[in-house]
């Protein structure tokens, strides 16, 4: 019983334990805030990628593309796990913008709007046509013109608050798009006869805010058939650059992606005599995460690095607790002698101080987590206040494509952090506690008589 009463009394009546609790609470607070914000940023970014590219992508990195895509989409739609699929062309082109008066080489994305909005979240990224996304390429000022949707960061000013300074009307701006059409063999089409380029004028019909900074600052969306023509992919055997696929809700993405892979293998084998069958060898089938690995992996790596850094914070906590417990035990050596003179065993002494360490860890974790949650609940308000008063922003919204600072506070993460804090305290207290258990009571009592 003494090994329950004494740790509680030492905890409540020793000021030095407040220091230990404070040290643990600061470490827990830092870990909770940074980990949850970082985790929020990463999962936000990952989720936006998922929404933008669908569940699975069949694609070629060759600008020539591949054929028979409609036939394959039909096969996909016949399966019981695919909800929708759409062809997409991803290419480059020269863009002459009336709005900015500049020429630039930009990404061009040809999408079949009806199928795209079923497969990805493209509809949600639109500004003017959010409620009628199938009209995304129909300029409201003149429905007879060819429309294009422009990445929001190419056109609209992003304010430091993270909001966009959208125009209340749709301006009639033209975009002259120039592409270099390629033959199925990869050479420039019509080369030697006339200019090896196709140009067409499109008119601004909407802007798209996917939340992916690189996409929104470099991409112009065009109707699929229009870009297909500009790229020379509308030959007798029409070609596409990719197929985005969305699986039915609740599907195992990785498992279904493997099924698509198998389906693609069978499809190419079945069509090995197709005139452009040679282009199939450049085609890959991957789930969305693998497809976007080069973009997502660095962020996940940063998160891993952060966890490693927090291990260092954990080590610092262990060291702080070690020092504080050494002080506590030095001051309590007389009490240890008294307990031993009353017949308390070495294990009994260990229990007293490890339970004290547990209480320090538990209190530190609770305070740190509570403070962290309060801070996170007000993080955006706090950042707004700092911005209003001092012009300070943690993430400059002119650079970073985030609205509010996200955070991912789940019970699992909080439980892990609390358990780690308690474990760090127990670890830090272990050596001083063992040395306390080894103390000879006669030495401690004699010393404390001086």
């Amino acid at each position: 019983m003494y090994n329950i009463i004494l740790p509680v009394r030492f905890f409540l009546r020793r000021r030095i334990t407040i220091l230990a609790v404070f040290a643990v609470a600061i470490c827990v607070f830092t870990v909770v805030v940074v980990m949850t914000v970082m985790s929020g940023l990463v999962s936000d970014f990952v989720e936006k990628n998922h929404e933008f590219y669908g569940d699975c992508v069949v694609w070629t990195d060759s600008l020539v593309g591949f054929g028979l895509y409609e036939e394959f989409i039909t096969e996909l739609n016949d399966t019981d796990f695919v909800a929708s699929a759409c062809p997409v062309i991803n290419t480059f082109g020269l863009v002459q913008s009336e709005a900015t008066g500049k020429n630039a080489a930009l990404n061009l994305m040809g999408i079949d709007i009806e199928r795209q909005i079923k497969t990805t979240n493209f509809a949600d990224t639109l500004y003017y046509r959010k409620t009628a996304p199938s009209l995304a390429f129909v300029p409201s000022y003149d429905p007879n013109l060819f429309g294009c949707a422009v990445g929001v960061d190419l056109l609209v000013e992003r304010l430091r608050t993270g909001q966009y300074n959208q125009l209340t009307y749709l301006p009639m701006w033209s975009y002259v798009i120039t592409c270099f059409p390629l033959t199925p063999k990869g050479s420039l089409a019509r080369s030697g006869i006339s200019l090896a380029a196709n140009s067409k004028t499109f008119f601004y019909s909407d802007n798209s805010n996917s939340g992916l900074a690189k996409v929104d600052s470099t991409t112009i969306y065009l109707p699929f058939e229009q870009l297909q023509t500009l790229c020379g992919m509308d030959t007798s055997a029409k070609r596409t650059g990719a197929i985005f696929i969305k699986f039915k809700p609740g599907s195992d993405i990785s498992g279904c992606s493997e099924k698509v892979q198998a389906l693609w293998r069978d499809f190419t084998a079945k069509n090995s005599d197709f005139a452009l069958a040679g282009l199939f060898k450049n085609v890959s089938v991957r789930d969305w995460k693998t497809y976007r690995r080069s973009t997502i992996a660095p962020m996940e790596k940063e998160q891993t690095m952060l966890i490693l850094l927090f291990l260092l914070i954990g080590l610092i906590t262990v060291f702080i607790i070690f020092v504080i417990f050494y002080m506590i035990i030095s001051r309590k050596s007389r009490d240890i002698g008294i307990l031993k003179s009353l017949g308390v065993s070495k294990l009994g002494i260990v229990r007293v101080f490890l339970r004290l360490a547990f209480l320090v860890g538990l209190a530190g974790a609770c305070i740190g987590i509570a403070a962290g949650l309060v801070f996170l609940a007000n993080i955006n308000r706090l950042e707004g206040w700092l911005f209003d008063k001092f012009g300070f922003q943690m993430w400059n919204r002119e650079i970073y494509a985030i609205g509010e600072i996200p955070h991912n506070t789940g019970p699992v993460l909080l439980t892990i952090v609390a358990a780690c804090a308690i474990a760090a305290c127990l670890l830090g207290a272990l050596l001083p506690t063992l040395s306390a258990a080894r103390m000879k009571c006669v030495d401690t009592l004699r010393v404390n008589q001086l």
């Binding site: 019983m1 090994n3 007389r334 009490d335 003179s341 009353l342 017949g343 006669v442």
Partner: protein
């Protein structure tokens, strides 16, 4: 007391030395002692004569370099760690010059500590009522019933020593070992404490008390004088 029929604690040929820097300090040089059941023995000697060291060895708080300590004819050196703890808890009770009470506990809890030391939390639940009753009774005997909720720093020196005595008696030990129990008290308070010891002795309690004061030692039934680590007179 006779050495043959009711010897409870004895030691034979006890040697003890300490390393002090490069010097080896011989504290006890072959001490023999026998304590009978119901004895009140005072071990007297000048400062540094080894009397406290002898008491610690007798109470198994320390070990000797050479020689044997017997409790009820059993050699303490043969006791396991667990048995030694049990011996300290149940067979002997210690009273120290500086009281050695735990500041974080109340007077009642300090007294109960002796009982708690050998009880698990669950075991304590079944025993706590009886233990509290005894602790209150002892504190009442010591005239401290009004102080049970106080903490040691709120008590006078004499009161603290009486709490320490109550704690030492909590487990009804066979021997009470007191190391200069009045050394830190004024003469009047010291006298009160000695009266407590005398009444305990009258009730049959075996007591071994260490003191440097001849007058205090004379209150015991038997006085053993230590000089330079050897027994000079009995």
């Amino acid at each position: 007391m006779t050495e043959t029929n009711n010897c409870i604690l004895s030691c034979k040929d006890i040697f003890k030395s300490y390393q002090m820097g490069s010097m080896r300090l011989e504290v006890l040089k072959g001490v023999d002692l026998t304590v009978g059941d119901g004895d009140f023995v005072a071990i007297r000697g000048a400062s540094g004569s080894g009397k406290s060291t002898l008491l610690h060895i007798l109470g198994a708080l320390d070990t000797s370099d050479k020689g044997k300590v017997y409790f009820e004819e059993k050699n303490l050196a043969d006791f396991s760690g667990r048995k030694i703890n049990e011996f300290r808890n149940k067979k002997v009770g210690f009273v120290f010059q500086f009281y050695h009470l735990l500041d974080e506990l109340t007077v009642l809890e300090n007294v109960l500590l002796a009982k708690m030391a050998q009880s698990s939390a669950i075991g304590w639940l079944g025993r706590s009522d009886g233990a509290k009753k005894r602790a209150r009774m002892l504190l009442d005997q010591m005239g401290l019933s009004a102080r049970i909720g106080h903490r040691p720093f709120q008590l006078s020196g004499g009161e603290r020593q009486r709490v320490a005595i109550a704690r030492a008696l909590m487990n009804e030990p066979q021997i009470l070992l007191a190391d200069e129990p009045t050394g830190n008290l004024d003469s009047a308070t010291g006298n009160d404490i000695l009266r407590v010891f005398e009444s305990l002795h009258d009730a049959g309690q075996t007591i071994v008390m260490v003191t440097h004061d001849e007058k205090i030692a004379s209150r015991a039934g038997r006085v053993i004088t230590l000089v330079d680590g050897r027994i000079a007179s009995v």
